[in-house]
């Protein structure tokens, strides 16, 4: 029994990284007032490109770590492109964000699938990146397994939580982001370029979503498939609501949802006689339950969330 619990807990940190990165990115988007539902599509593109580069470099064999790094970097750059593209649609043209996000999601998932079939073909695995055991600390029973023997990207992602907090609440740029998401007109009158700030936030959010996708394909699954993302992008958006647009609470949410997801792995690997499909459903059900409890009182929500800004129109 203790084995199972250790197993589940030790999966929590590495498996939560994709959710964490994507929701931190989405947090920046939403703090700037843009609701980017296309996160899923950007993650799919990031996952595909992140996997493609080490795959082409190694042709299925071992690859130098630099190609994995290159995979992450190009996934992030592609994410920036997608974020800016979404900016053109929703900030410049002021299209309704919800439905435009669905469009971006279809475009991203579809393109990733199309390119994957052409450049890779079928299911191909890549060596990915391996776990590193932190000396001494990883030897501590239980705690060592849960906290100190994961891949390097997982640690970097968790360092991003305080970094994101610092950027959002302690830097001038973070203040601008919060201003354009709360009261863009006031920000505009103070000389902040609302459009530019929203574009910057979307670029950052896109980069993080791309990295999240690349993490899934390079570090977690070590392959790409059409169903690799399977709603994680949408869960990431929900986590932002759940975490009240605050990095630390979002981290808590990511861990909670990953714990629910590990349940399916446990059911599968331990041979517990419990319908596998019900275990897979669990995190999705949890999202709906959590949203039902947290959506009513959204006093912390950015007040301009989802509202395009137009200097020319008085409100």
């Amino acid at each position: 029994m203790l084995d199972i619990i250790t197993n589940m807990l030790s999966m929590c940190i590495p498996f939560s990284v994709a959710l964490l990165l994507a929701s931190l990115g989405e947090m920046f988007n939403q703090r700037a007032g843009v609701f980017n539902l296309g996160c899923e599509g950007v993650m799919a593109m990031g996952a595909f490109v992140g996997m493609l580069i080490p795959f082409l470099a190694g042709q299925g064999g071992a690859v130098a770590p630099v190609y994995n790094v290159l995979g992450f970097v190009s996934a992030a750059l592609l994410g920036v492109l997608f974020g800016l593209f979404f900016g053109v649609i929703t900030v410049t043209f002021r299209a309704p964000q919800g439905i435009a996000g669905i469009g971006l999601q279809m475009f991203g998932v579809g393109t990733a699938g199309t390119l994957f079939r052409h450049f890779v073909g079928g299911t191909q695995s890549i060596p990915g990146i391996s776990d590193i055991d932190i000396p001494l600390l990883s030897k501590i029973p239980f705690i060592g397994d849960v906290f100190f023997s994961h891949n390097i990207v997982a640690y970097l992602a968790y360092i991003l939580v305080p970094v994101a907090w610092y950027i959002l609440f302690k830097t001038y740029w973070g203040l601008k982001v919060r201003a354009v998401g709360t009261n863009p007109r006031a920000a505009d009158s103070m000389g902040i370029n609302v459009t530019r700030t929203r574009y910057e936030a979307l670029a950052l959010g896109g980069a993080l979503a791309g990295l999240a996708g690349a993490y899934l394909s390079i570090a977690q699954a070590k392959m790409f498939s059409d169903t690799l993302i399977s709603g994680r992008g949408f869960i990431a958006v929900a986590l932002v609501y759940f975490g009240h647009w605050h990095p630390v609470q979002i981290m808590g949410g990511a861990l909670l949802f990953t714990f629910a997801q590990t349940f399916q792995t446990v059911v599968q690997s331990m041979g517990i006689s419990f319908p596998y499909e019900l275990a897979v459903m669990l995190p999705y059900v949890l999202v709906i339950v959590v949203l039902s409890f947290t959506s009513r009182n959204q006093t912390t929500a950015p007040t301009a969330l989802g509202k395009p800004f137009n200097r020319e129109i008085r409100t």
Binding site: P96, M106, H118
Partner: protein, 361 residues
Amino acid sequence: MTKGFRIAFRFSIVAIAAIAAILMASVILWMIGADVSDTFYIIIFQPLTNMLHLSEVLIRAIPLCIIALGISVAYRSGIINIGAEGQMAMGLLAFTGVALAFPDVPRPLLLPLAMIASMIGGGVWGFIPGILKAKLNVSELLSTVMLNYIAAQFYSLCLRTIYLDPAEQVYGTGTPQSMRLTENIWLGRISGRLHYGIIIALVLAVLIYILMWKTTIGYKMRASGSGARAARYGGISVGFYLAASMAISGAFAGFAGGVELAGVHRRAIEGITNNYGFSGVVVALFGGLHPFGIIPASFLFGLLIYGSTLAPSQVGVPANIVQVMQGIIIIVIVTAQMVLSNTYFQDRVWRKYQALRKKEG
């Protein structure tokens, strides 16, 4: 501003949008090294060349049309239903359940019963996000997506357990599927696989037109959608109509599942929903959220979906290309709509045009 200029302005915006969409799709096709014009020909014109292809296109247009009609009702009421995929799966399950439970009931009783069951199955699945939105302000975009995944899992759970064909365990085809449904429940076929569902879809389009534009219920739904605050001030219970429109929307998606099952597959199997739920959103938008626009739009997208199944063998383009095109089309439609409704922009173009004319004349 002259009337001629307004028409020319609208026309050129639509033309630019269409060109932008084609260019974006071409970039993706170019990246995978496909012959762009050949691919467009295969996807859009090849299916029109003979009756067999054409009937396959129409078969795909039927569920698209029914689902898009439901989505347009929800959209007009101010709620975006992207959960039609899950609602359709629940409709399929309910329909199969009734058909398997009462195989000996005569056709005039069984067919309506199963159809109603499929509507209830989808309707309940649509009502959940509707009521959550109305009462608890849960974003319907997130709840419907989550319900899609839940329904998909529930669907394969049912196929694998209670609905599993007993013969499946003997022969073991590898894909879980239900028994072939009783003949009492099949829809008749017109030609090839094309079934009478096409008439059902057309009748439903007329019904939706009457509901939305000729009844008070429809008026109240549209009022809630175009201005929730004003509607509430006018004494309309916005929450009620929101939930009701989602239930209708879900019922249509479930019904589409029932028609698809009775007309085409005649047994529940994986992959019947075939992304129709998401394509339905595109069809509804492309059809201008109006029943008489949705009918031609569903034919067009039936064409795209069927054409894309021809593409892998003929030009080596993966069938996923249809998803790419649908994403592009959504993006371009919502963007073009914003440009068209931006009167300031139109004014500015008009002034530029005037200045140009003065310079010349």
